[in-house]
């Protein structure tokens, strides 16, 4: 079968008394969208953060393309091809859309330590930046500072910056939050294309989007993966139904 691009093995992480990750194991395989769902505070962002490198797990292993990466820094993991987007937009506020994307491109191309060339001279790179912006529906917002973008547009810029890295896997933390129906539709279409370029670990609260996109779904509750399976398996799973019962049973 498809081999795993990313394997998480027995990952645990506590914040004091809060066990945010409890013995989590899951795989993201080539060509798939693996959705990670669960109630607020379940530990989804904490898991993404440990995979991307911002948090060190207390125990367990992260294996990326066959190599353990648990001991690597965020920068090293980014260079290996982990392309991450943040739940709370972390774009450079003073920079325009184009400047933010150019920053990502210079990072990817490892040209960020050039001191005496102009960052915006390379027309091929500028053209590439525009293409990424257009893909994220920001083609006509290139010269708007990120701080002046609408909330939804800033989410799209997060996505555009992840795209620009041409990663080997996307780690997307709620890319559709606050986008509205129209935006959610368009990002859904984009993610469906994107998974042919690299697999996606998708954290998302929008169940319509999750069930439209995900090849497999893992359900996280109180730091523990209570189920992993296809859409139908998850819909039929009794534990999942129970965990979501108080919430929104019809969503499943």
């Amino acid at each position: 079968m498809d081999k795993a691009v990313l394997s998480i093995r027995n990952l645990s992480k506590s914040f004091g008394a809060i066990e945010a990750s409890k013995d989590i194991s899951l795989d993201v395989r080539a060509g798939e969208i693996h959705a990670l769902i669960g109630p607020n505070g379940a530990g989804k962002s904490t898991l993404i953060q440990q995979i991307a490198g911002g948090l060190r797990p207390d125990a367990g292993q992260i294996v990326f393309q066959g190599e353990p990466v648990t001991h690597l820094t965020t920068v090293q993991r980014a260079r290996l091809g982990l392309g991450r987007s943040f739940q709370v937009s972390a774009v450079v506020p003073d920079y325009t859309v184009l400047e933010n994307i150019m920053l990502a491109l210079h990072g990817r191309n490892r040209t960020a330590f050039r001191l005496f060339s102009n960052a915006f001279r390379d027309t091929a790179l500028l053209a590439e930046a525009r293409r990424h912006a257009e893909r994220a529906e920001l083609g006509d917002r290139l010269s708007i500072p990120a701080a002046a973008l609408a909330h939804g547009e800033r989410r799209l810029l997060e996505l555009a910056m992840a795209l620009s890295l041409k990663p080997k896997i996307f780690l997307l933390d709620e890319p559709m939050a606050g986008l509205g129906n129209d935006g959610t539709q368009r990002v859904t279409t984009l993610l469906a294309q994107l998974k042919t370029e690299a697999p996606i670990l998708l954290v998302e609260h929008d169940m319509d989007a999750v069930f439209a996109l995900a090849d497999r779904i893992s359900v996280l509750v109180y730091g523990r993966v209570i189920a992993t399976g296809t859409r139908d398996e998850i819909r039929a799973n009794a534990d999942v139904r129970r965990a979501y019962l108080g919430d929104d049973e019809d969503a499943l």
Binding site: G53, V75, A78, F86, T96, L103, A112
Partner: protein, 328 residues
């Protein structure tokens, strides 16, 4: 509000024009004041690179200013006494050449900044301010207690160092040299700020987690910025030694770090020409108010307070709108 570009040119022309006017009306004292302001401007541009662009609030830039000064002073003192600095398997002599001494000052500044930066950039916020301050004071006490080079008395440079083709004893010629260096430094900093490095450095100040995520190491960016910053401020210290023909431990004192920071904040943090107008204003305050009242620093403090409270971008920020896009 005018565009920042025109204001920058106006500031440059203003400093040059003042020195020209002073020279042709025979006011050599004013020429020397303009030279002093120009040297302070360079020190400020150095700090602004770390503080303004990199967000590194260093309260220890006197270390670099002093290192630059002492490099010139030590080289000159050995040249004056005809004793080599080092006499082992090679012999290193002193020098009275500005080119060589300033070059040595820049290298010394780079090494000092590499050392201080590598240790202090592991902290941030208030800790970074305190640790850079502590390093600055360490150099200060070291200089005071180093009898080989004058201790508290410092080093006098009896003969003005030389520069090929110039008579550096003529105040206006020395001004022209210093002003040329300022211009080159401004152009270099402008180029670096528009480079990919500048793009990443200004980003790391605002959103370090984003910079990491695109595969650029914040520590490396900050360390390089700190070293460049230290080199520029050391160069200013070297020229200051040549201006006064004297160096003393006072160059290392935290007052100097504070003054350099005042040039930057007064003129406009992260503004290319901010430190230039800031240093010029500082020297003007010192001269005009300092003559009338020994408490002129209080007035300067008030001016600073007003700027910090009401005009965030300093003098440049309140006169010019920011050039929006970084490119083009």
């Amino acid at each position: 509000m005018i565009s920042e570009r025109y204001l920058n040119i106006a500031i440059w022309v203003g400093v040059l024009g003042f020195a020209l006017y002073a020279n042709f009306s025979g006011e050599t004292y004013w020429v020397t004041l303009a030279t002093r302001a120009t040297i302070f401007a360079i020190a400020g541009i150095g700090l602004n690179f770390a503080l303004g662009y990199g967000g590194l609030i260093s309260f220890g830039h006197a270390a670099f200013f002093g290192i630059g000064g002492y490099a010139v002073g030590i080289l000159a003192s050995h040249a004056q006494s005809f004793t080599p600095i080092y006499d082992g398997f090679v012999t290193i002599d002193g020098t009275q050449s500005m080119v060589i001494a300033w070059g040595a000052a820049v290298v010394a500044g780079a090494l000092t900044a590499l050392l201080i930066g590598a240790l202090s950039l592991r902290t941030s916020g208030a800790y970074f301010i305190m640790i850079t301050l502590a390093f600055g004071q360490m150099f200060y006490y070291f200089a005071i207690s180093w009898p080989a080079y004058g201790g508290e008395d410092g080093i006098s440079i009896y003969v003005r160092n030389s520069f090929p083709g110039l008579n550096t004893l003529v105040p206006f010629q020395f001004f022209c040299l210093v002003f040329t260096v300022l211009t080159i430094v401004i152009l270099l900093v402008r180029t670096m700020n528009k480079s990919p490095f500048g793009l990443a450095l200004n980003a790391v100040r605002q959103m370090p987690q984003r910079v990491e995520t695109v595969g650029i190491a914040p520590f490396k960016l900050r360390l390089i910025a700190f070293v460049i910053s230290g080199m520029i401020t050391a160069l200013a210290g070297a020229m200051f030694a040549d201006l006064n023909r004297y160096v003393s431990p006072a160059m290392f004192s935290w007052h100097v770090s504070g003054e350099i920071m005042v040039f930057v904040i007064l003129g406009g943090v992260a503004r290319l020409m901010g430190p230039v107008i800031g240093a010029a204003t500082f020297v003007a305050f010192e001269e005009v108010l300092g003559r009338q009242s020994e408490h002129w620093l209080i007035y300067l403090g008030l001016a600073l307070l007003i700027i910090v409270l009401f005009a965030k971008g300093g003098i440049v920020g309140s006169l010019a709108r920011r050039g929006t896009a970084r490119h083009g």
